[in-house]
């Protein structure tokens, strides 16, 4: 793979994480537990959609065959999406979506930090912009984890269950594939094992502060990075791509 195509694949994978998570969060609009949270959720999902647009546009530029952000978002089949399985998981209840955010954003923050130091200027610039948003998101989602974990008996029980349920989707974040390896070798990309250690420390700290228990080591699901998704994903994509697929070639 040429360096440009490698970068295109890596950038579009980052775009996939951002878009799929943003799309999940959009499903929560008008369903938040309070009005202030409604604003926060819309604001954060807007950040993710914005990040997806930047990553896809850059992927298209690196690829050099004229694909734009919407071609990536709306005209690719399921198996060409390379997002983490974690971000495509259904919203569930507020505890589930909070845990999903904390687990993902704790990883994403370190990943973006590492990417600001990579040798590809295009990616490092986008990472530098995104990191400011994600740092704030993580502060927000962590505060909710504290409230739920150390709130009532019910909220503690529920959010512990969320943590236990979603834990199996975290392994994928740290298992490098060829793309990760090449990104690291050629562009001084992120070291996933270093990020794993940082992530584990951060997550342990917030989980313990929330009076919750770290889940036991367990079997880890994977496949998102290779385009093998959970069953939930097809529905998300079908809904998102509905108009573009129904009216091919139309301008909106």
């Amino acid at each position: 793979m040429s360096d440009n195509l490698l970068m295109a694949a890596y950038a579009s994978r980052l775009g996939d994480n951002a878009l799929v998570l943003g799309q999940r969060m959009i499903e929560l609009v008008a369903a938040s537990p309070e009005l202030e949270e409604e604003l926060a959720n819309a604001n954060f999902s807007l950040d993710y959609i914005g990040q997806a647009r930047m990553f896809y546009t850059y992927a298209g530029k690196c690829e050099g065959v004229g694909r734009d952000e919407d071609d990536f978002a709306f005209l690719r089949p399921e198996h060409e999406y390379r997002n983490l399985l974690l971000v495509e998981q259904p919203n569930g209840h507020f505890g589930d979506s909070t845990v999903r955010q904390v687990l993902f954003e704790s990883w994403y923050l370190h990943l973006l930090e590492a990417l600001t130091r990579c040798s590809d200027e295009g990616i490092s610039e986008i990472a530098a912009r995104a990191i400011k948003e994600v740092r704030y998101h993580l502060r927000h989602s962590s505060q909710w984890l504290l409230r739920l974990g150390d709130g009532t008996e019910e909220s503690h029980r529920r959010v512990q269950q969320s943590l236990d349920n979603l834990w199996k989707f975290t392994g994928e974040m740290f298992s490098p594939d060829d793309l990760d390896d090449e990104m690291r070798a050629i562009f001084n990309g992120p070291h996933l094992e270093i990020i794993e250690a940082q992530w584990r420390e951060d997550v342990r700290a917030i989980v313990e502060q929330a009076t919750l228990k770290m889940p036991d080591n367990q079997w880890m699901a994977s496949g998102g990075k290779q385009g093998r998704h959970t069953e939930h994903f097809g529905y998300l994509l079908a809904e998102m791509q509905h108009l573009q697929q129904t009216y091919p070639g139309a301008t909106w």
């Binding site: 008008a30 709130g151 009532t152």
Partner: protein, 331 residues
């Protein structure tokens, strides 16, 4: 978004006079006539306060319920740019709801109470949100027509005699005019697109035209509280005046799009320089206000479900805050 139903009284009549003396009322009216702003801590007649609470809270509720019909197309927006714009718009609406509730709270009613009134069905919201959004073009039509009508209603409210409401409206109106332009721009794109897209735009206009005209409320002759609201300068123009203004501005916009306004009797009167239109189906309006619109039940169920599903979360936040307060008091 979205006032209207501003003249829709609840079961108890908010305009019913309070226990004030003639002197107090006269002095208050003198301040109003002098275009002074009434502030939260100023003396005001009980009926003035009640009218404003009703109007501002209805407006806030409309913003919150109004997130639903547009939210219905967020996951299916046809491009990432459209998705981002619509999301920003829906976020604005939540923000409008938030500061309108705050403006109403200055009148001594809590947000919890207002929300409880909405959920119990006691409080109203704009009837327009009880119509479904069936195609992407509806998102264009809502921006163009519904936000357009809302702006007509709301620009005069920037000069409303009650200071906190007037200031909230100045901010709301700035964002609304952006919403209106993005809606029209969606319509322009659709009308310049394929035959199917143009048909989608026409269908949206057909369905949203009349409900948009109804947003201005009943005809002046049937508008219960208009006279008092005008005297108090809560309201500056009558329902029919604003409706006419909206029609006069909007019909040429429809013509520019190449769309047909769904009214066979619509014609321009050279003498009056206004468009004349056929009668509005007020039965439909009163049906929707009374709860019998296509989506009344659905909108309220979604709102109640969000409230119910979030109960354990709000309770956790409350208990957590108490624990933290107790811990810092003990430290």
């Amino acid at each position: 978004m979205y006032t209207q139903g501003l003249d829709q009284a609840g079961k108890s009549d908010p305009a019913k006079p309070g226990p004030e003396t003639r002197e107090q009322l006269d002095a208050f009216q003198t301040r109003i006539d002098a275009e002074e702003k009434i502030e939260a801590k100023d003396w005001m007649p009980e009926a003035y306060r009640r009218t404003l609470v009703r109007q501002i809270s209805q407006h806030a509720h409309s913003e919150i319920i109004g997130m639903q019909p547009e939210g219905n197309w967020l996951t299916r927006a046809p491009s990432l740019k459209r998705k981002a714009i619509l999301l920003a718009k829906v976020q604005d609406e939540a923000g409008h709801g938030l500061y309108l509730y705050s403006a109403a709270e200055t009148l001594g009613v809590s947000r919890d109470q207002m929300v409880a009134d909405l959920l119990s069905g006691k409080a109203k919201y704009s009837s327009i949100f009880n119509y479904p959004t069936l195609s992407w073009a509806d998102i264009g039509a809502i921006g163009w027509l519904v936000d357009g009508a809302a702006i007509m209603n709301q620009i005069p409210l920037c000069r409303c005699s009650y200071g906190p409401y007037s200031r909230a409206m100045i901010r709301v109106c700035k964002e609304e005019s952006f919403h209106q332009r993005q809606g029209y721009e969606i319509m322009l794109t659709l009308c310049g697109g394929t035959a199917e897209q143009k048909a989608m735009a026409q269908d949206a206009l057909n369905r949203f035209w009349w409900p948009s005209l109804m947003m201005f409320g009943p005809n002046d002759a049937n508008s219960t509280h208009s006279a008092q609201s005008m005297a108090w300068k809560i309201k500056r123009f009558s329902n029919d005046e604003l409706r006419q203004k909206f029609i006069d501005v909007t019909v040429p916009q429809a013509e520019f799009l190449g769309l047909t306004v769904p009214d066979d009797e619509l014609r321009y009167n050279e003498e009056t320089e206004h468009y004349e239109h056929s009668d509005i189906d007020w039965q439909e309006f009163f049906d929707v206000i009374a709860g019998n619109g296509p989506c009344n039940k659905q909108r309220m169920e979604k709102r109640r479900k969000a409230q119910d599903d979030g109960a354990w979360v709000r309770e956790a936040a409350r208990v957590y805050a108490e624990k933290k307060a107790a811990a810092s008091a003990a430290a």
